[in-house]
């Protein structure tokens, strides 16, 4: 055990888990004391969702090293499979937690399968081409979901792509998916505790993968594809592994998120490329390949526009300026050189002070 703790990687992992758990405890205490406004409480589930999306996207972008702009599409698959399952099983499985857990697993499974189906042809492409194709897939998923009508009656499920009447249902049947109006009537099972639990599971899966033999193979592909291939790493297998796990985790996050509302639609602003790009912003700002950074960036960037609500008109303008400023400060070679210089100067002063004290 002691040796285990001495390893640097393990320590880092434990600190990340610790941060999540401590944050959870603090938020719970604040809620008990009534110090958390309703508005912030309403944000807790979305924040958990964004954190999960950011961690899972970081697996594709940071560990696999491929740019994906279609992450919201997988979440969208998760949302719809998860919620449809919950609505269908509402009267069959009484215990809400079993139903919810099954819905999340099903969401993950479906998103994972879609991830494999998309990944098989697409991962042959590289760089920006891969980015545009994942974006295209995300838009296709959204568009297709928007024309599906799904209803349920005693005969079973009915599906159509024209409208509700074309479902040909019995009068007591329920329409679950109403095309562009989305899915309505799912049980609102999602809460903050489950969200934190899911974040921990997501982190556990991703960090374990990263530190495993498979993870090292995936990172070898990222660092040099040809060299990795020449030492006998099965490129397709590992790329597909990382991509589909990332998709499945996004699906689980989506299934969780879907149970936060009474109605959810696949609109441009929540499951279009905009959303994928927003998640990518979390990943890049938090540090590519750095899971802890993704979590912090996702939380801060979700809270920032809400904090600025007082100056509502200008809040997104300020958000964009902060985003540009932070990117320039974090990534430009000049700013990095300046930071190095400041570091040396401050450290030098500290050393000087120490000497004077002695």
């Amino acid at each position: 055990m002691k040796r285990l703790l001495q390893s640097k990687e393990t320590k880092k992992t434990l600190i990340t888990f610790g941060i999540v758990i401590i944050t959870y405890i603090i938020v719970e205490i604040l809620m008990l004391c009534g110090l958390l406004s309703n508005q912030l409480q309403g944000l807790l589930v979305p924040i958990c969702y964004y954190v999960m999306l950011a961690i899972s996207l970081n697996l594709t972008v940071g560990i696999l090293g491929e740019l994906s702009l279609g992450h919201a599409g997988f979440a969208c698959v998760g949302v719809f499979t998860g919620t449809v399952f919950s609505i269908c099983m509402q009267n069959v499985i009484a215990a809400s937690w079993i139903r919810f857990a099954l819905a999340i697993i099903l969401g993950a499974l479906f998103a994972g399968i879609v991830g494999i189906l998309i990944g098989l042809p697409v991962l042959r492409l590289k760089g920006d081409y891969l980015a545009i194709v994942t974006l295209a897939f995300c838009e296709i998923i959204k568009n297709v979901i928007n024309v599906i009508y799904l209803g349920k009656d005693s005969q079973g499920l009915h599906i159509s792509t024209t409208d509700t009447t074309a479902l040909g249902m019995e009068p007591e049947g329920v329409v679950i998916i109403k095309g562009a109006q989305g899915v309505t009537g799912m049980p609102q099972d999602a809460n903050f505790t489950i969200g934190i639990l899911l974040i921990l599971i997501t982190l556990f899966i991703v960090l374990n993968l990263v530190h495993s033999r498979d993870g090292r193979a995936i990172m070898a592909i990222r660092d040099n594809l040809i060299a990795a291939e020449s030492v006998g790493i099965n490129i397709t297998k590992y790329k597909l592994m990382a991509f589909s796990i990332s998709a499945a985790l996004a699906g689980a996050a989506g299934a969780y998120y879907g149970h936060n509302f009474n109605n959810i639609k696949a609109a441009t602003n929540n499951f279009g490329y905009n959303m994928s790009i927003m998640v990518l912003v979390f990943v890049v700002l938090g540090g590519i390949g750095n899971m802890r950074g993704s979590i912090i960036a996702a939380v801060l960037l979700t809270l920032l526009p809400e904090m600025l609500r007082g100056i509502s008109e200008y809040r997104l303008l300020i958000y964009s300026i902060v985003l540009i400023g932070m990117m320039l400060f974090n990534w430009s070679p000049k700013a990095q050189a300046w930071k190095e210089k400041m570091k040396v100067r401050i450290l030098g002063k500290l050393k000087k002070n120490q000497k004077e004290v002695q």
Partner: protein
Amino acid sequence: MSLISYVINGISLGSVYAIIALGYSMVYGIAKMLNFAHGDVIMVGGFVVYTMASGLGINPILSILCSMAFCTVLGMTIERIAYRPLRNAASSLAVLITAIGVSYFLQNIALIIYGSSPKAFTSVVTIPSLKLADGALTISGETIVTIVACIIIMVVLMLFINKTKAGQAMLAVSEDKGAAALMGINVNGTIALTFAIGSALAAIAGVLLCSAYPSLSPYTGAMPGIKAFVAAVFGGIGSIPGALIGGILLGLIEILSKAYISSQLSDAIVFAVLIVVLLVKPTGILGKQIQEKV
């Protein structure tokens, strides 16, 4: 007859995509970055013309020229402030995210000035529509102007790139920045010039787009921007004839699938065709295959 009119509409929409895609493609070819803010420059171009022509009653031609000048300056400023400092950054994703930031910035500035409700854009085209085959086939003035503008821009741009020193410098920089600098080419200046041309084209595309589909909101540029990006990839990113072919094919597929298959699924069909093309030819229709070495 309806098929012919759909085809003409498709070519017209495709021409707009092609003009936008040119900006994407040139910038990508030379700076190796996806300029996500390009779509929003289109919107800015549209709003400048809207303000001048509809608001102040200035001559449309003059307002288009002003809009082009404004967008040129805007494009160069964006490049100078937001993109140039990150050109040698450790990750190429950094500049992509900054471009997204710029895109948000432009959208929100427009949102504060003009509000979110769509504005009715008065068409700047005064040419009457053309009636063929005893009135069975009508081609609107906007369509004619768009297609003609697209052809003129393509020809001028090809001449510029192949015949002038500045154009050759652009080709050299896109091929190899280091070698170009050693040959005495001002790399920063050439990249700025590319952004200037791309942004001026975006202004023209904005006016044409808003004349054909007369509504203008801060989010007008986003979707055409993405579609044009798809068109650029479709034709082979970095290639000028590729942008033309990609744009027109995309416009045709979009209009025809809207007319004959499903208006809701037209975007999905456009993207599906893109995926199929990329899987068969991973660098687009006219893209160059670059062999990677260890």
